[in-house]
C-alpha cells in the first residue's frame, strides 16, 4: 500500500452539486405521482375527541387519507417505544401528524388537509422540563411504564432517561476545597436547519416498495419502515439521491413510512416535500434545551478536588434517538478533566415540545458552553489564568477521565497550546475586545459497517458502500483509501452508495462514523482485491506475491520497478477468469474499560473509543451600547487522529465553527406558553451568513492514536461544533464582567447582563 501525500482532490459529487446537474429527492418525478401533505395537531397537548376525514376523502383528486387507524398498531422508538406513526388518541406537540393526504396536486392536497375535522380536549401544556420533574407535574405519557424500552434505560414518569456518573467521594472532595464555585446556566433548544428541507418519494411494485428519501441514515429509515409497516427488510429499498445537508437533523427514521403507506393506499407514487416551516416544526430533531447546576471545588493551588453537576434535558414529546443524551450529556457536563471526586446526574425529561434528537454532536456544544463558562469562573475565583488552569486540570496521555477511562496517546494539551498560539492569546487588545478559550471532546463511534470493491476488465474501479454522504466528504474520501490499497488513483474509482438494496449495512452519516467504520470496511474490501492483483502479478512476473508492490497504476516486483505490469492488464486477465471482487467489514474497535466509576443508565456512552479533543480560542468585539457581539477571529486546534483528506477536514472545521457561532449568538428556538415555536422561519431563526464569517486558523494535532479507525483516523464531523460557543462565552464574560448565562447569548441578553452588573459602557 502506498499512502498518497496530502490529497487535495476535487470531491466526486462536487461538479454535480456546483453545476446543478445533481438530482435531489425533490427533483424526482414519477409517472402518476401524487403530492402528500400532513394534517398537524396545531395544539401542543390535547386529547382527540373527534377525527373525521370523510369530507377530505370526498374531494375529487384526493386518492388517500390515512390516520393511525389505517396503519399497523405499532409503538416504536429506538430507546423507548413511545411513538406511533400518527397520533394515537392524544397529540403531544404542535406538529404531531394526525392524518396524511395524497392528492393529485398540492392545492388539492391542502384543501383535503383543511377539510379534515379534528377536535381536542386541551390538556395542560408541559413547557418546562425542570418543572416536569416535580412529583405532581402533569404527565406527558401517563402510560409510560407500559412502554417497551432498551434494557439499561432508567425511567420514571416524565423522566424518560436518567443517567449518572459517580466517582470517588464528592462530599469529601468538596470539603478539601479552598473555594466551591456554583453556577447555573440555561441553554435554549436550536435546530439543524439544513438548507434542503426533507423530501420523500415512495413507489410500490407488487409487494415491494422503493423509497427515495433525504435521510442521513438509509438503513435506519428502512428499519423504521419495516417495523411500522410490518415488512421484511428485503422488500423495502431506500435510495438517497444527493443530500442537501443534514447536520444530524436527518438522522433517524422519519416520515418514510407515512409516504409509503400513502403510496400503497393510493396505488400511485407519492412525493412529500417539506416547506421550511415544516422543516422547523415536524422532524423529531431539535437540539435539546438543557439547564445546568454546577458545583466545583478547587484548591488555591489550582487543583480541582470535586465536581457535581445536575442537568435537565428537554426531551420533547417523544424520545426519538435521544435516549443516550442523558449519559453523553453527563460526560460533557463533567468535561475532559482529571477530577478525583465527582457526581453527574442528568435527566431527559418529556415536555410538549418538538422531540429532541441528534443534531451535530448532541448535548455537546451547549454543555461545553456551560461547563467551560463555569470553568473560567472557577479559574478566576482562585486567580489563575484560564489557559493555565486548563493545562493543569485537563486530561492527558495516560490520565484517567471522569468515568474511569484510561487514555492512551491523546492530544488535548497540544490543542490548548496550539489554539492559544494561533489566537495570539495574551496579546494586548482594544478595550472592547477579548479572547476566550475552551476545550471540548467527542467520541468516535465504533460500529459495524460493510463495503464491496471491484475492478472491472478495463481497470476502472467501483466502491459499493452502504455509507451515506451528507456533505462532509467522508464518502468521497473512501476513494482515496481504496485507491491507495490497490495502487490506483482516487479518480479511477466511482462510488455507488446510498442504496440499501445494493450495498451492505452502514449506520449512516451519524456519529461522525463514516470514515472511522466504513473506511475500515473499504480498506478490508480493497485489500482482498489487492491480494488478487498481487497473485495475478506474481504469476505474470514470476515472483513471490509478497514481493509485489501496487503503485501508480502498476504492479512491480519490490526493488525492481522495471519488472512490472499495468493493473489494467491484470484486470483484463482477471475478467477472463476469477473476477476482481472484494468485500469487507472488519471488526470494530472494542470499547475501553471503565475503572472505579459507577454509571447508572449506562447505554455505552461513558467509555469512548478514540476520543477526539479540541480547543477553540475566539477573539470577539462587544458593542457596549447594544450588546451586539462580533466574532473577529477563531483559532481551532483538533486532535482527530490522522487526517486523511486535509481539504475536506478543514472544511468540516470551518463549517462547524460557523454553526458554533450561530449557536452562540443568534440561533435559539423560543416557545410561547401554549407550546408553539415562535421563530420557525429563517428570518427569525438567525443562521450565520457568509457575511458574518470571521477569519479562522485551523490546526490538526496528528498523533498516533491507539484503537482507532483506518490509518489512525478518528471521527471529525461533530467535534469542531463543540467548543466554539464556549470560547465566545469566555471572551464575552471578560467584557461584560460576568458570564451571559443563557444560550444563545443574544444581543439583548448580553445587554441585560451588562446592565445587571452596571458595566454598561458610555457613548459610542
Amino acid at each position: 500500500m502506498t499512502v498518497t501525500e496530502t490529497p487535495r482532490f476535487v470531491r466526486a459529487d462536487g461538479p454535480d452539486k456546483v453545476t446543478g446537474s445533481g438530482r435531489y429527492t425533490a427533483d424526482l418525478s414519477l409517472t402518476g405521482m401524487l403530492t402528500a401533505k400532513f394534517k398537524y395537531a396545531g395544539v401542543a397537548h390535547g386529547r382527540i375527541t373527534k377525527l373525521d376525514t370523510s369530507a377530505a376523502k370526498a374531494i375529487p383528486g384526493v386518492f388517500a387519507v390515512l390516520t393511525q387507524a389505517d396503519v399497523p398498531n405499532v409503538r416504536f422508538g429506538p430507546f423507548v417505544q413511545d411513538r406511533t406513526l400518527f397520533a394515537d388518541g392524544v397529540v403531544r406537540f404542535e406538529a404531531e401528524i394526525v392524518a396524511a393526504v395524497a392528492a393529485i396536486d398540492a392545492a388539492t392536497a391542502q384543501r383535503a388537509v383543511d377539510a379534515i375535522v379534528v377536535e381536542y380536549e386541551l390538556l395542560p401544556v408541559v413547557n418546562d422540563a425542570e418543572a416536569a420533574l416535580a412529583p405532581d407535574a402533569p404527565l406527558v405519557h401517563p402510560d409510560w411504564s407500559s412502554y417497551g424500552a432498551a434494557r439499561p434505560m432508567v425511567r420514571n414518569r416524565n423522566d424518560a432517561s436518567f443517567a449518572s456518573i459517580a466517582k470517588g467521594d464528592v462530599e469529601a472532595g468538596m470539603a478539601q476545597a479552598d473555594h466551591v464555585v456554583r453556577s447555573r446556566y440555561v441553554a435554549d433548544g436550536c435546530h439543524a436547519a439544513p438548507i434542503e428541507p426533507r423530501a420523500i418519494v415512495a413507489q410500490w411494485e407488487g409487494d415491494k416498495v422503493t423509497i427515495w428519501s433525504s435521510t442521513q441514515v438509509p438503513f435506519d429509515a428502512r428499519a423504521g419502515v419495516c417495523e411500522t409497516l410490518e415488512l421484511p427488510a428485503n422488500r423495502v429499498r431506500i435510495i438517497v439521491p444527493h443530500l442537501g445537508g443534514g447536520f444530524g437533523g436527518k438522522c433517524g427514521f422519519h416520515q418514510e413510512a407515512h409516504v409509503a403507506a400513502l403510496a400503497r393506499a393510493a396505488r400511485r407514487p407519492v412525493r412529500l416535500v417539506f416547506s421550511r416551516r415544516e422543516e422547523f416544526l415536524a422532524p423529531d430533531k431539535r437540539r435539546e434545551g438543557i439547564t445546568y447546576e454546577f458545583e466545583t471545588g478547587v484548591r488555591n493551588d489550582g487543583t480541582i478536588t470535586a465536581r457535581r453537576v445536575k442537568m435537565v434535558l428537554d426531551n420533547g414529546a417523544y424520545t426519538s434517538d435521544a435516549g443516550f443524551f442523558s449519559q453523553i450529556g453527563a460526560m460533557h457536563g463533567l468535561g475532559p478533566y482529571r477530577i478525583p471526586n465527582l457526581l453527574a446526574e442528568a435527566h431527559l425529561v418529556y415536555t410538549n415540545h418538538q422531540p429532541s434528537g441528534s443534531v451535530r454532536a448532541p448535548t455537546a456544544p451547549q454543555s461545553c458552553w456551560a461547563l467551560e463558562s463555569h470553568t473560567d469562573e472557577v479559574a478566576r475565583a482562585i486567580g489563575i489564568d484560564p489557559v493555565e488552569f486548563r493545562r493543569r486540570n485537563a486530561v492527558d496521555t495516560g490520565a484517567e477521565g471522569p468515568s474511569g477511562q484510561l487514555y492512551g496517546e491523546i492530544g488535548v494539551q497540544q490543542c490548548i497550546a496550539e489554539a492559544a498560539r494561533l489566537a495570539g492569546y495574551g496579546q494586548t487588545l482594544p478595550a472592547d475586545e477579548a479572547i476566550g478559550l475552551a476545550i471540548g471532546w467527542w467520541p468516535s463511534f465504533s460500529v459495524p459497517s460493510g463495503a464491496y470493491v471491484k475492478i472491472d476488465g478495463d481497470g476502472s474501479g467501483q466502491i459499493i458502500t452502504g455509507a451515506q454522504e451528507c456533505g462532509t466528504g467522508s464518502v468521497m474520501t473512501l476513494r482515496q483509501l481504496a485507491a491507495d490499497e490497490v495502487g490506483l488513483r482516487a479518480e479511477d474509482f466511482q462510488l455507488v452508495y446510498q442504496d440499501t438494496s445494493v450495498a451492505p449495512y452502514d449506520m449512516g452519516a451519524t456519529g461522525s462514523q463514516t470514515l472511522f467504520n466504513n473506511g475500515r470496511a473499504v480498506v478490508a474490501a480493497a485489500a482482498q482485491v489487492a491480494e488478487q492483483l498481487r497473485q495475478l502479478a506474481a504469476n505474470r512476473l514470476e515472483a513471490d506475491p509478497a514481493d509485489i508492490v501496487l503503485a501508480d497504476g502498476r504492479a512491480h516486483v519490490a526493488g525492481t520497478p522495471d519488472r512490472s505490469v499495468t493493473i489494467a492488464k491484470l484486470a483484463a486477465i482477471a475478467a477472463g477468469g476469477e473476477l476482481l471482487i472484494g468485500h469487507g467489514s472488519g471488526a470494530p474497535p472494542e470499547a475501553p474499560a471503565l475503572v472505579g466509576s459507577t454509571c447508572v443508565g449506562n447505554v455505552g456512552m461513558a467509555a469512548w473509543v478514540a476520543p477526539q479533543f479540541s480547543c477553540h480560542a475566539v477573539r470577539v468585539k462587544l458593542d457596549r451600547d447594544t450588546g451586539v457581539v462580533r466574532v473577529l477571529h477563531v483559532a481551532a486546534a483538533h486532535d482527530s487522529g490522522t487526517i486523511i483528506n486535509p481539504l475536506a477536514a478543514e472544511g468540516q472545521v470551518q463549517g462547524a465553527v460557523i454553526m458554533g457561532i450561530g449557536q452562540a449568538l443568534t440561533e435559539g428556538t423560543t416557545y410561547d406558553d401554549a407550546g408553539h415555536q415562535r421563530n420557525a422561519a429563517l428570518l427569525e431563526y438567525k443562521l450565520q451568513t457568509c457575511a458574518d464569517v470571521p477569519p479562522m486558523a485551523v490546526h490538526f494535532v496528528q498523533i498516533n492514536t491507539p484503537n482507532a479507525g483506518p490509518r489512525g483516523a478518528k471521527g471529525l464531523a461533530e467535534a469542531p461544533n463543540v467548543a466554539t460557543a464556549a470560547a465566545i462565552s469566555n471572551a464575552l464574560a471578560q467584557l461584560v464582567g460576568q458570564p451571559v448565562r443563557q444560550l444563545p447569548m443574544t444581543a439583548e441578553r448580553v445587554w441585560n447582563a451588562m446592565n445587571a452588573t452596571g458595566a454598561q459602557g458610555g457613548a459610542a
Binding site: 468585539k621 451586539v628 462580533r630 449568538l665 422561519a681 429563517l682 427569525e684 451568513t689 444581543a747 459610542a764
Partner: protein
C-alpha cells in the same frame, strides 16, 4: 388569474385600473405569499420593463428616482452615495446581493413596512412620492403616504412611479443605521436616519431624524427645532433621548420593547454623529453599518 408584462406606463396604468396589482422585483410580494402573509393577487402587472421607470435623473430641484430603480443601483450611485447618503446606507442593507439586484425602491416604499431600510432615510431627506393613475398624477409626502403597517394612502389604481428628493442645503450630510444581529439577510430590529446641516462654526444648524421598526409607520422625530445651535455631541445626545422617548415599539421575537426603546436611541445618536461627519465633508463608506461601530471590519 393573469400576469401582464407592461411595455409602457399607460399599459400598466390600464391594468391597474382593471384591478391588477403591480409587481417589479417581487421580493416582498412573492416571499410574503409563500409565507402565508397574503396570497398572491389574482392579476399581476409587471412594471420592471417599462422604459424610464428605472432611471435616476438629476433635476433643478434635486433628483428623481424611478420607482423601478434597484437597491443595487442606489447603493452604488455616486451622487446618491455622496449627497443622499442615508438612502444609499439603507439600500445597501436590504436583504442579500440577490435581493438588492431585483428589489426596487418603489416596492420598498409601497410595501410600507415600518422596518423598511429606505424609509427613514427618505423621510429625513424630505422625499416626496409621485403617484400616477390614468386620470393624472399627484405628489404626496411620505408622512401622508404611510398610514399603517403594510398600508398606504395610494388608491388601487395609482402606481408609484418616482421618488423626488430635494437637493440638501450646503454643509449637509445624512446617514442611516440599523440594529442587526447578522450582516446579511437581516431585518432592522430598530433603525434611525439623520440629516444634519452644520452652521459655519460647526454647530448644528438643522437636524431631522426618522426611526424605523419602533412605531406602526416610519416615525419622524418631533421637537428637534429647539436643538439648532447646539454642538453635534449635545444634539446627538438630545436626539437619542428624544428617540427613546418618542418611540412606541412592540415586543416580539426579535426584541423586547424595552430593548428597542434603548437601542433606537443608540442608533439615532450614531446616525446624527455620522451625518454630521459627512456634513463636515468626511467620506464614510456606504453603508455606515459596515464602516463604524460594531459592524466595522475590525
Amino acid at each position: 388569474m393573469s400576469f401582464t408584462i407592461a411595455r409602457t406606463l399607460d399599459e400598466a396604468l390600464a391594468a391597474l385600473a382593471a384591478g391588477a396589482r403591480p409587481i417589479a422585483g417581487g421580493t416582498d410580494l412573492v416571499v410574503g405569499a409563500r409565507h402565508g402573509k397574503a396570497p398572491l393577487p389574482a392579476d399581476l402587472v409587471a412594471i420592471d420593463r417599462i422604459p424610464g421607470l428605472a432611471e435616476v435623473t438629476v433635476t433643478a430641484a434635486g433628483i428623481t428616482i424611478g420607482a423601478a430603480v434597484s437597491h443595487h443601483t442606489l447603493e452604488g450611485h455616486p451622487l446618491i452615495a455622496s449627497t443622499y447618503s442615508a438612502l444609499a446606507d439603507g439600500s445597501a442593507l436590504v436583504g442579500s446581493p440577490a435581493t438588492r439586484h431585483v428589489g426596487t425602491l418603489g416596492g420598498n416604499i409601497m410595501n410600507a413596512s415600518p422596518a423598511m431600510d429606505t424609509g427613514a432615510g427618505l423621510t429625513v431627506l424630505g422625499a416626496e412620492v409621485e403617484l400616477r393613475a390614468q386620470a393624472g398624477s399627484r405628489r404626496v409626502t411620505l408622512a401622508d403616504l404611510w398610514t399603517a403597517p403594510g398600508r398606504t394612502s395610494a388608491r388601487p389604481d395609482e402606481l408609484c412611479v418616482a421618488v423626488h428628493v430635494p437637493t440638501p442645503a450646503p454643509r449637509s450630510g445624512s446617514a442611516y443605521l440599523r440594529l442587526e444581529y447578522r450582516r446579511a439577510m437581516e431585518i432592522a430590529v430598530v433603525g434611525a436616519a439623520a440629516a444634519v446641516t452644520l452652521a459655519p462654526d460647526g454647530s448644528v444648524a438643522a437636524v431631522r431624524v426618522a426611526l424605523s421598526a419602533v412605531a406602526p409607520t416610519i416615525l419622524s422625530l418631533g421637537g428637534l427645532e429647539t436643538l439648532a445651535g447646539g454642538s453635534v455631541n449635545d444634539v446627538a445626545a438630545a436626539v437619542a433621548a428624544a428617540a427613546s422617548q418618542q418611540a412606541t415599539p412592540i415586543s416580539d421575537v426579535r426584541a423586547t420593547d424595552h430593548y428597542r426603546r434603548h437601542t433606537v436611541g443608540v442608533m439615532a445618536r450614531r446616525a446624527v454623529a455620522a451625518a454630521a461627519r459627512r456634513a463636515a465633508g468626511e467620506t464614510i463608506a456606504i453603508p455606515v453599518n459596515r464602516s463604524i461601530g460594531i459592524g466595522a471590519a475590525s
